[in-house]
């Protein structure tokens, strides 16, 4: 389980805001294994920026990212904080669109999308439009879209932060099930979060970042048995321990 999937070395990112340079990421060194990694950090420290660089839509100012994956360009699934479904496309079309872009024939893309939608219990909503769905369902489609392309790496940017607590909890469990059962073939999951509790509940390791410019302050192993019990003394102890690094 310690095989390295991604190595991030000396990663730095600066933004130019007018004439002022803002350093967002500072010398990030991190190895992502075959694991569920949570990234925890204060608001505005650069978590999303790091994910976007991992996804390849933003270029680092310095440093490298190496993917130790057979294919030359890793397939990446990205779950956005907001559902970001395209309003004029149906649910099925939304999920199928990335597949089509990956070169799969429209018909097959649709079949594949249908399969994944049924996996998350959205059969029957294929032809609905996003505005007809509840917030939780939309976020489920967002996750499905990321899984359907069979990502090697799944990136999640505060995926549960805009949901009501009950829906969020249900989706966390669902996502964990999918990850632990290995159905999706995902090699590593990287999830950005604000919540210590969420990180502890889901992740194998937690990387804690400092305020901007972000550096890795500490990486904590979470060796708690699954399914995790939030009330257990070990859980609470770790929570207190991590809290020290956040404040």
């Amino acid at each position: 389980m310690t095989e390295v999937v991604v190595s991030i070395k000396e990663l730095e990112k600066e933004y130019l805001s007018g004439r002022v340079r803002i350093k967002v990421l500072n010398k990030i060194n991190l190895e992502i294994r075959r694991e569920f990694l949570a990234i925890l950090g204060p608001s505005g420290c650069g978590k999303s920026t790091l994910l976007r660089i991992l996804a390849g839509v933003e270029k680092p100012t310095k440093g490298t990212i190496e993917f130790h994956i057979s294919s030359e360009r890793p397939r990446i699934g990205f779950v956005f904080q907001f559902p970001t479904l395209i309003p004029w496309l149906t649910i099925l079309e939304n999920v199928a669109l990335p597949l089509e872009s990956a070169g799969i024939k429209p018909k097959e893309a649709r079949d594949e999308a249908r399969k994944y939608l049924s996996l998350v219990g959205l059969s029957g909503f294929e032809n609905a439009y996003p505005h007809q769905l509840s917030g939780g369902m939309k976020q489920r489609v967002n996750i499905t879209r990321a899984l359907a392309i069979k990502p090697q790496i799944l990136l999640l940017d505060e995926p549960f932060s805009n949901l009501d607590p009950l829906t969020a909890e249900a989706l966390r469990a669902e996502l964990l099930d999918i990850w632990l059962s290995g159905v999706a073939g995902v090699e590593a999951v990287v999830m950005v979060t604000h919540s210590i509790d969420e990180a502890l509940f889901m992740a194998d390791r937690i990387a804690i970042l400092t305020p901007r410019p972000a550096e890795v302050r500490k990486v904590v192993e979470v060796n708690l048995p699954r399914p995790r019990n939030r009330r257990s003394p070990e859980f609470q102890k770790l929570e207190d321990y991590i809290y020290e690094f956040i404040s």
């Binding site: 839509v57 907001f82 970001t84 395209i86 669109l97 872009s101």
Partner: protein, 523 residues
């Protein structure tokens, strides 16, 4: 040759523009603010301005000119008429801008002012006027351009045997072109274009930049020499700044907020009957005016004797031209906008410059620019005519589309496209174009109004020894005006206006509602 007088005349023209602009600002404050606060005023004035905005004022200019010159002694009469024409090119946009900005003031703010018992003056000076001024500043580019468009038309016009001519650069250019002095015409065009561009660079762009900086975000960044930005703390610093919500007023999210507040359906529904009522009142007023000014004898209207057939055939000819131009502008804006959107700065910069040059050209200028080539048969007048139409159409869509920054929700959609590596075609057809649809249709329906003004300039011109004619309603209007047939002029203008208003209230409204319902991006 001595073209020194062009400089003096340029000053006259600028003064005329400035006077009209000042009037427009006053009108925007006096009408826009109450309209945004009072349901009654909103329901009455919105449809009126909606109609006024969409009719081609150029067609009515001869009639207005006659009326005003009868009422006011020369030379003031003609001056007044020309300022009124420029005003109509500037004001509606500013008034509606202020109205929607005031309308978009968040409820929280109003509640706050109610809880702390702000009196009327406090509300006016601390909330509404700053809001209005910000809206005016950010709408000024479009308005100024709207006024410039009429610059040539308003300064010289011959009505039968009478010729009204004002001192102004617009009149000079028209005369020099008609007289075959192409060099002089070029000097005039260069002067006017140069000054327009300088105004953009030194005044309007920095103003908008300063305003959007004040609003807390560079909503649109215009290329400009930023002397204004350096000055802005002094100028704007003292303005009471409701900066925490102003971002709403400038970002395109504004559109959403406003549209969600304005119950379009209800407003439209209520407004149709009001439009009829207003039309009746206006007609009565016009007739009353004509009676007062003893123009009654020329107003012996013989309905059957009116050129119905000509008007209809002319309208169909022009409609075909307008339709083709709108399609062409749509295609151009869609592709160019997409290209600029994807390729960022340089392309966007070029597009913005192009848009500003286009919008700052009085329609007639094209005839002058190509006068030599047309005179020598190097270029088809049809092409020039198309250019005039294209210019008068494209920039409306232009200011609505590629310049407007994407909203937060839209930006996220583009991020989806990026992360899932959609190909160019898919990015264009599935993301960019649909997300732009509400704005493009809004732009298209505005362009539709603009195109008809251009028709009047595009179908008739006097270039040196040649008279350029393309049959259509614009041509008919020109010929009627030159022949001094005020009845026919009014008839054609009314016929055209009614047609435009009907198409606006049926086709464009339907299209916009469809686009808005289906393609609006909200989270």
């Amino acid at each position: 040759m001595d073209y020194g007088y062009l400089l003096t005349d340029l000053t006259y023209s600028l003064l005329r523009l400035l006077t009209a602009y000042t009037m427009s600002i006053v009108a925007a404050l006096l009408i826009g603010i109450p309209m945004g606060r009072s349901k009654l005023l909103e329901a009455t004035l919105y449809p009126l301005i909606d109609v006024l905005q969409s009719i081609p004022v150029l067609g009515f200019f001869p009639a207005v000119l006659l009326l005003v010159t009868k009422a006011v002694q020369p030379p003031l009469g003609a001056e007044l008429a020309s300022v009124i024409l420029i005003f109509t090119g500037q004001a509606w946009n500013l008034i509606l801008g202020v109205y929607s900005a005031v309308k978009a003031v968040p409820e929280d703010f109003l509640m706050m002012s109610a809880i702390y018992r702000f009196n009327l003056a406090a509300r006016l000076f601390k909330i509404y006027i700053p809001t209005a001024l910000l809206s005016i500043a950010s709408n000024s580019i479009v308005s100024w351009a709207g006024g410039l468009f009429f610059l040539t038309a308003c300064e010289v016009i011959s009505l039968g045997s009478e010729e009204f001519r004002l001192r102004g650069i617009g009149a000079d250019i028209v005369n020099l072109t008609a007289g075959g002095d192409f060099l002089g015409a070029y000097v005039g065009v260069a002067l006017l274009t140069g000054v327009s561009l300088a105004l953009y660079m030194l005044l309007w762009n920095p103003l908008v930049n300063a305003v959007s900086a004040l609003a807390g975000g560079s909503a649109v960044s215009y290329p400009a020499v930023n002397i204004f930005r350096a000055l802005s703390p002094h100028i704007f610093g003292r303005m009471p700044s409701p900066s925490n919500y102003v971002i709403y007023l400038l970002s395109t999210r504004n559109l959403d907020v406003v549209l969600s507040r304005i119950n379009l359906r209800k407003l439209f529904k209520a407004s149709t009957s009001r439009v009829l009522a207003i039309a009746a009142v206006l007609t009565t007023l016009t007739i009353a005016c004509l009676v007062v000014f003893k123009n009654v004898n020329t107003l012996k209207v013989d309905l059957a004797g009116l050129p119905w057939f000509n008007a209809t055939v002319g309208l169909l000819h022009s409609l075909f031209r307008v339709f083709t131009t709108i399609l062409a502008s749509f295609a151009f804006i869609a592709f160019a906008g997409f290209y600029a959107f994807e390729h960022g700065k340089v392309a966007k910069y070029i597009l913005i410059q192009l848009g500003e040059v286009l919008s700052s050209m009085p329609a007639f200028l094209w005839w002058s620019i190509f006068s030599l080539a047309v005179e020598n048969g190097l270029i088809s007048p049809l092409l020039v005519s198309f250019l005039i139409l294209f210019q008068g159409t494209a920039w409306y869509i232009f200011f609505n589309t590629p310049l407007a920054p994407p909203t937060e929700a839209e930006r996220r959609l583009y991020e989806v496209a990026q992360i899932y590596r959609l190909g160019v075609f898919k990015r264009f057809s599935r993301i960019y174009l649909p997300s732009m649809m509400p704005r493009i249709t809004a732009g298209l329906s505005a362009a539709w109004g603009g195109a008809w003004n251009s028709v009047i300039a595009a179908e008739y011109a006097q270039i040196g020894s040649k008279t350029i004619e393309f049959f259509g309603i614009g041509y008919l209007l020109n010929v009627a005006t030159i022949g001094g047939d005020i009845n026919a002029t009014l008839f054609y203008a009314l016929y055209l206006a009614i047609f435009i208003v009907i198409v606006n209230r049926t086709f464009w409204r339907w299209l916009f509602t469809q686009a808005f319902m289906k393609y609006r991006v909200v989270e």
